[in-house]
Symmetry: C2
Subunit: 703 residues, 2 copies
């Protein structure tokens, strides 16, 4: 168990601000704690002698030792109350009181002080502006939610207190239980990362679920979640997905909106299963909490109803799972067991007059097939089928096979008792075939997540010192946007660029051109001129003899176009054969939550019009670099579609990894685009570069 376990398993809970005034939050919390908590409850309030019949203490100092304090005093005395608690040895504190960062600058100041005092005394602080925390094993409801949850193996964190009250009322009705519940509030001290780490160590937690509107430190969350999901599944609703939603979330919690694209990538890389509704959250969680994992992706469907069987099959088709191909043995056994009219191929249609025994036999045969990794039992009500008996049968057979089985006993009242029986045996029963399949799909996805080996970033041998030097030029120039003149930055990190040089006189231009085989490309280099082609600042395929004149022409055009532009010189570069090559883009920008977001796509219309790009949070290893390439729709073009010679995909994979290392080494790089990175059959080359540097940050970076 982690260091937060004391939060959920205290022997004594103090309520600072306890009161018996009707309607007060301080009373609601005390009532909830007295309702079922098996430890001691200590009210603290200087103006009362007793509260709800319990002896009340004026302050923490005079009270017995407190393991966990729930603080519900007015905002202006929260800090003082916490100091007092800390001084008497209380380490775990939940701040219910609102009026902190969510209310403006005064509150923000107060929240900073809260953070400071927590750091000073090494306190575990939940909130402020929290609904509270709950733990079912000891019956503790340290919150002002009216509902104490049932016990179960799901631990639940939420950035919205209302989300908790809404979910608990519903979940209790559905018989869904929880282990620990925490309302994160403003997350001044403890945040989502702390709790997933804690619950990963908690043997009583099988699944972690949550509702989040932001993730404070995306990189730390990503690293932690990756470790947690080696063992414990995490399912999250992350709201603020859409522009409108992000705006609403930001006005709700004051969170700075990171990009949805970064969240999507970050959660995926972290191994988090993302749900988009309360229903999906629990559809996944129930399967993950109760069932073993499927060995293979083949699903058997057993039904008494053709139509619902087809719907289930569609749902399997939509998922990562597939309809299992039965072995001949299975087909033979089913043929023997079922009537002639039945369908013995998958989906198994045991037809309308199937009773429980026939259903059971079909399921038993299907689960014995090695191609079957999981099964859905789909039933429509008939006169000959008892759902209650069917539930018992499914439970028995599932136990024999150790294979995950979900059910979809369609109907209302008729299915209610069976639903309870199944739930108690850990088998989720769903109303809709598509939801049943999504439960199995979550199991298979989680299996893949934790079975996948870690994609360790490779550390290439690079010249970091030289790179720092190149970047430092930016600060000297009072210009934080760099271009082709910094191509040697890429070379320092082992990313090939065409041979060539930036020169500042025509004679030197000719010398450089002479040293290059074949014709050259010449480009104006000036920080003020960004659309070089438009002003005639680019010449492609210049013969050595023409280089001198071309130099003068390019410079003249640039001067003419923008007389005050500072002209660094002209780049004379090897001419790359673009005919057999594909132009790609490899780039990065920094997300406020997750940090460096890498981007890959094909150049031109593919990025600009089709928006066919893939992203990952850096650092990444080889597998994720390769996935970035495979994910784009146009990937077949690189792999040699339509009779083209395949591009050097391995070269792109390595370039993405090297860029990942570069932007990880230098947080000062705010944005970077290699556009194009030309991928030919025999190699890749970065042709053009733009980047933006945070010069203040750069100064703090060691070479």
């Amino acid at each position: 168990m982690g260091r937060l376990s004391a939060l959920f398993d205290p022997e004594t809970v103090g309520v600072v601000g306890a009161t018996d005034r009707e309607g007060a939050v301080g009373r609601a919390i005390l009532e909830n704690l007295r309702g079922g908590f098996d430890g001691e409850v200590v009210p603290i309030n200087p103006s009362r002698e007793t509260v709800l019949g319990l002896e009340c203490y004026p302050d923490a100092k005079s009270a017995p030792p407190i393991d966990l304090a729930v603080v519900v005093v007015p905002p202006d005395i929260v800090i003082e109350s916490i100091r007092e608690l800390a001084e008497t040895g209380t380490e775990n504190i939940v701040v219910i009181t609102a009026g902190f960062a969510e209310t403006g600058s005064e509150g923000a100041k107060r929240e900073r002080r809260l953070r400071e005092i927590a750091a000073e005394h090494d306190l575990n602080v939940v909130g402020p502006n929290s609904l509270g925390i709950m733990a079912t094993p000891n019956g503790m409801n340290g919150s002002f939610a009216p509902q104490t949850p049932l016990e179960g193996s799901i631990s639940f964190l939420s950035q919205s207190g209302a989300f908790i009250t809404a979910v608990l009322d519903w979940a209790t009705d559905e018989g869904i239980g929880f282990q620990d519940v925490v309302s994160l509030g403003n997350k001044a001290v403890l945040d989502e990362t702390d709790f997933i780490r804690e619950w990963d160590d908690d043997p009583a937690t099988d699944v972690i679920i949550g509702y989040l509107e932001d993730i404070d430190d995306g990189q730390t969350f990503l690293e932690t979640a990756r470790e947690v999901t080696d063992e414990t599944p995490i399912v999250l609703v992350k709201s603020g997905r859409t522009d409108a939603g992000a705006k609403a979330a930001s006005s709700h919690t004051g969170a700075i909106a990171g990009s949805e694209r970064a969240y999507e990538a970050g959660l995926e890389q972290a191994g988090v299963l993302r749900a988009h509704s309360v229903q999906e959250l629990f559809d996944y969680a129930r399967a993950l909490a109760g069932l073993p994992e499927p060995d293979t992706d083949g699903v058997a469907v057993v039904t008494n109803a053709g139509g619902p069987g087809v719907l289930t099959t569609d749902a399997v088709g939509d998922s990562r799972l597939e309809i299992a191909d039965f072995t001949d043995e299975t087909v033979g056994a089913l043929t023997e067991a079922l009537p002639d009219e039945a369908n013995v191929y998958n989906p198994i249609d045991a037809i309308g007059d199937a009773d429980v025994d026939r259903f059971g036999e079909a399921l038993d045969i299907a689960l014995a097939d090695s191609n079957v990794g999981s099964a859905v039992v789909v039933a429509a009500p008939t006169a000959v089928l008892s759902y209650d008996d069917l539930a018992e049968t499914v439970i028995e057979i599932r136990e024999i096979h150790e294979t995950p089985v979900v059910t979809c006993l369609m109907g209302g009242k008729r299915a209610r008792d069976a639903d309870t029986t199944l739930r108690e045996a850990g088998i989720p029963n769903y109303f809709d075939p598509s939801r049943a399949v999504s439960g199995l799909d979550a199991l298979a996805r989680f299996r893949d997540i934790h079975e996948q080996p870690t994609d360790e970033p490779e550390t290439f041998d690079v010249d970091r010192e030289h790179a720092h030097e190149i970047l430092s030029r930016a600060t000297r120039r009072d210009n934080n946007r760099l271009g082709v003149e910094s191509m040697d930055l890429l070379e320092a990190y082992g990313i090939s660029t065409p041979s060539g040089e930036i020169v500042d006189d025509p004679e030197r231009a000719r010398e450089v051109a002479k040293s290059i085989e074949g014709d050259v490309v010449m480009k104006i280099v000036s920080p003020e001129i960004s659309h070089k082609s438009d002003i005639g600042g680019v010449k492609v395929g210049v013969a050595t003899d023409d280089v001198y004149d071309a130099y003068e022409d390019i410079v003249a055009r640039a001067r003419n176009y923008q007389p005050d532009a500072r002209i660094v010189g002209v780049q004379v570069q090897e001419l790359i054969d673009l005919e057999a090559a594909t132009e790609t883009i490899v780039g990065m920008n920094r997300d406020p939550q997750f940090g460096p977001l890498l981007l890959f796509g094909l150049g031109g219309i593919f990025v600009e019009i089709i928006e066919d790009t893939s992203v990952r949070i850096a650092p990444i290893g080889e597998r994720e670099a390769r996935e970035m390439i495979d994910e784009i729709q146009a990937a077949p073009l690189l792999r040699g579609a339509r009779g083209r010679e395949p591009a050097d995909v391995e070269g792109i994979v390595e370039t993405i990894q090297r860029l990942s290392q570069l932007v990880t080494d230098f947080p000062s790089i705010l944005e970077l685009d290699i556009n194009p990175l030309v991928a030919g059959p025999d190699g890749v080359q970065a042709i053009d570069l733009r980047l933006t540097v945070d010069t203040d940050e750069l100064d703090t970076e060691n070479p």
Copy 2:
């Protein structure tokens, strides 16, 4: 009311095959009818004198006149029973008996005879292999489903009987009522099209819903549904969407699988809202059955809970709706009505201590805003909020404003009574914010569907006779695949092609080239050679002087490549400047259910790699042709993205319409591809053509 109304509103129902044998379907039906039907029930069975206490007649002739007969006799005497019924004047018959086309060739023969006798006597026959039919106004359950539905304004058709039993059990529990219900069975005579037509005329039906695995005659369904959805919404689950599902559906009903792409297009064009699960079906249906239509797409969200408010906003962002911008007046009024901490912009957060009055006031103010077309009330449980009172308040305020409102009172037990109250007032209450928004979205989608003017296909002035002549060449040649040699087919329908000719000697080639300005393109024309470029059968940019030699070279290469290929000649064609133009593809293939499926896309990688295409069922008008272009991801390329000159989009729109007319005029054209159709700034031209003709069909077509 349509001619099928007698099916649902009979005075006398006969049960042919009635029995009191326990467990028999003939008994279940009789029991169901006796359970609530307010007309007369007549058992018919030659081997009984009474059944369940009712006088039983040996045959239809001796029985009193019967308006509707439910036939449940063994398959081999079904036809005879129907004949007898018809002869005594019964016009409406439901065949429950199975053992027809779903069971093999013997059954298929039986089904053909059933169809013949129905046609002969002009009978309305439901089934065979039907669960039966139901109508709630007269309490008739003429089925063997155990559940008689509640009364309501939803009429329901299903190709799966099990789907009906599953849905009714659940719907009764949820308080959802129905008008008419029909289990279509094998659809030997009456199908989905007949029932949607009937219900469109039925003032008691507000919404039509259904479950289908196939649509027999897509074109007729499309035309009928288009008319129906001018007034009555249709929501369908069409299963067999995925390859696995289509295979399962086909083994279930014996339906020939049409392509999912054609169904998708056909249902969309028909104005049908498509649901993908039982839940979605009813989420849509409940909104459509109970609520007025939104005037505008702006949605107001009123909540006491920040988190659920953000989730709702995300759901709006995902839909076609948008978060309404409140007027200054609204913001002012909300500021006055709500506490300082509340959010008076949309989503309105009335904060956690909001009681019913505050909720009501906020909703009232929001609905008065002219930018608000609909509203969602989202609530989390709190100590100060009574869901029951909130339900009453929402109902009152909604009635004042005539604006659609849905609710999402989150929770379990606590929300149950409020849910009932709201439902009875026609306001759907949803468990999840995303579902609540999807209900409003369905309303807006249906509004757009029935407000949209019909997209009448334009009839262009074409030379149909000449086209027939050109197509007829195919039959004479004993080859039903045509190519460039039939380009004049396109000309006959007003689709431009480059000038040129197919010639069979080099001298004539030179003459043709002379008559064309500039260089020419030359291509081998041979039905046996399809990859012309690969064998050197194409020469681009041939000067007039070189045409003679080029001719001989092309023919020699073709002979060399395939000595037995029949060489029609060489096409000498005007050279089209492809530099400023975009290559597009316009094509058609025939779907077994829906007929001509038009396709549009950009040439090359866009179609082959990105699969960026749009489809429509022909015939289509100008609007849909334009939509086909706008739908593809690469559309901006045609509209002048990235500094390109815009292509002649109007020319493409017209070409698609002319192709629509061509393939509608000639059902014998099985497949046709114009690839490429080159779209330049000043016009479009069809450069190459391939088509396949059904020569037997062609013979039956009049020129």
